[in-house]
Assembly symmetry: D2
Homo-oligomer: 169 residues x 4
C-alpha cells in the first residue's frame, strides 16, 4: 500500500505569518498521520512552512520545482522534483496529489485549485474562502472550506474513508 | 513587425449559445484587425466559435492542443500546436498570447486567467465577472471587465496604444 | 485542408556555415511548396537560417520557444509559441510537425529525433548520418537519410503521396 | 543533507531478461547505498526491475509517470509523480536526477541520454554502447561506459567524490 500524498498549496513570499503558522501546523499533522507532503518546493511562504512542519515531525516531503535546478528548494524538502517548466509544473502538483489542500494565496494558488477541480481532485480550502467562484464544486462535495489544520486531517480521513474507528473492526 | 497574438479563452462543451455567439463575433473582429487568434484548439464551445469567426473573416488561427495528436482540432484552426501535455498546456496558451481575453467558462478558464495574471499578462474579461477574486489585479489596471466584443478591441488598442487616430499622423 | 507543417531541427550556435546554408535553402523550398515551417524559434544556427529562408520566399514560420518570453525569437519567426518549458518543449516541436527534418546538430537535435521516432513521426535526416543508432527505424522506412535540400522536398511528397502527377488525374 | 537521487533509464516492454536482471541488481545496489532511485515509473522493463530491486533492499523509489493518473505505476514505486505530459516528462526525469544511468533501450532512452547531456548531467551507460554518437561527451568525461552494476556504484562515488577512504581523513 502506497502512502497518501497530500498536496499543500498557498502563498509564497507574500504569505502572512498567520498563514505560515497554519501551514507549519498542517505539515506536522500530515507527517504524524504517516502521509507524504507535496508542495511547490521553494523555501518561502506556505511551501517552506509546511515542509518544515512535516520534517520536524519525521515526515517525508516532495517539492515540485518550477526551476531547471534545485538551488531554490527548501532545505526541508527531501525529494526535489526539478521540472524546468515554470508554472507549467502546477498541473503536476495537483495530478500527483491524492488530495489538494489550499491555504490563502494569490493567482498561483488559484490556478492550482482550478486545475485540481478540473482534473477531478478533491480540494480542501483552509481559511481560503473561494466558495463563490467555485460554488458548483462545493455543492457537488468536491470542494470544502474548513478553518483549522485539524479539520483538514479529519476531512481527508472522511474523504478517503480512513475512519478513525477502523481499529475497532 | 510581428502581428499581435490575442488569446481567447472560455468555456468548452458547456458554453451557452450566447457565449459562443459572442466568441464568434470577437473572433471576426480580431481577424479584421489583422491580429492572430490563439486558443485551446478544440472544435467545441468558445474555441470553435472564436476560430470560426476569425476564419470567416480571413484571419489566422493557432490552437494549442492538450492532446498528443490533432484529431480533435477545430477545422477552423490553421496551425494546431500539439503539446501532449493536457492542462499543462494552459501556461503555453497564456505565455504565447500578447493579451488574454476570457469569456465565461469554468475551472479551465479560471486557471488560464490566474496563470496569465501571475505571469504579468493583461487580461480582458468579456462578460465574465471575476473581479472579486482578482480584485488586486483589477485595481492595478492589469485586468478589466467589459461587456461587448467591440469593447475588447478598443481595450486592446488602448492597452497597446494602437490609437485609432494613428492614421491622422 | 490544413497546410503541411514541416519541423526543421538542427544545431544552434555551433552550426557550421555549410549547415546553415543548407537550412536556409531548405526553408526556402518548404515555403515555395506552400508548407509551414516549424522550428525551435531562436535567432541562431539552423533555426535562424531555416526561418530566414522561409520568410524570404513568402513562407509562414512558427517557433516553439523554450523561454518564458519571446525576446530570443528570430525576427524571421511569424508565430512565436512561448512554452517556458526549456527542453521540455522538444516534444512539442515533434508532435506539432507532420514530418521532421533533422540537419546536423548535437544532443538537443538527437533528443528531438529520438522523441519523433518514439512518437511515430517520420524523420528525414539531411546530411546527419545517425543511421547506426536508429537502424531499426531506417529499416522500417520511418527514417531516411538524404543529402540535399531538394531531396527532402521529394521525400516529403513521396511520404505524403503528394505526387506531382496528381494534377493529371 | 539530501540523499543522492540516481535516475535509472532503459528499455520498457522490449527490455530483455538480461537487461532486466541487471536493472534489478542495480536497483538493489543503489538502495544499499542509501540513495533514492528515480525512473519513469511504469511496471514494465527496466523501470519495474530497478524499482523492485530497490524496494527489496529497503530503498526509496520515485517514478515520473507520463500519464494523467497513476494506474500504470509499478507497485514498487513509493512516490508516483503524475505529470500528464507524455514524453514531455523525460526532461523531468533527467533534471531531477543527480546522475543518470542508462541501460539498453530504444528511442525513449536515447532521448533521455541526449537531454541529460544537453543539460549538463553526468551519464553512466551500463552496457549501452552509444559512445559513437555522443563521443564528444565521452571525451569530456561527462559520459562513461561501464559493464557491471557494481561499476556504476563505483563510478557514481568517483564522480561525486564520495570516496570510500573519506573516513580515513
Amino acid at each position: 500500500m502506497r502512502k497518501l500524498i497530500v498536496g499543500v498549496m498557498g502563498g509564497g513570499e507574500g504569505a502572512s505569518p498567520e498563514v505560515c503558522e497554519m501551514a507549519y501546523k498542517l505539515g506536522g499533522l500530515i507527517a504524524q498521520q504517516g502521509w507524504i507532503l507535496l508542495n511547490g518546493g521553494w523555501g518561502v511562504g506556505v511551501m517552506e512552512a509546511s515542509a518544515r512542519g512535516a520534517k520536524e515531525h519525521n515526515g517525508l516531503t516532495v517539492g515540485i520545482l518550477p526551476d531547471r535546478h534545485k538551488d531554490l528548494a527548501s532545505p526541508y524538502i527531501d525529494i526535489p522534483i526539478v521540472t524546468g517548466m515554470g508554472d507549467g509544473r502546477n498541473i503536476i502538483n495537483v495530478l500527483s496529489s491524492d488530495i489538494v489542500v489550499a491555504l490563502p494565496g494569490r493567482s498561483g494558488t488559484i490556478s492550482e485549485i482550478a486545475l485540481a477541480l478540473k482534473n477531478g481532485k478533491k480540494v480542501i480550502l483552509l481559511n481560503f474562502p473561494l466558495t463563490d467562484i467555485f460554488v458548483e464544486y462545493q455543492k457537488a462535495g468536491i470542494m470544502v472550506l474548513v478553518h483549522k489544520p485539524e479539520e483538514v486531517i479529519a476531512k481527508i480521513k472522511e474523504l478517503y474513508q480512513l475512519e478513525n474507528d477502523e481499529k475497532d473492526e
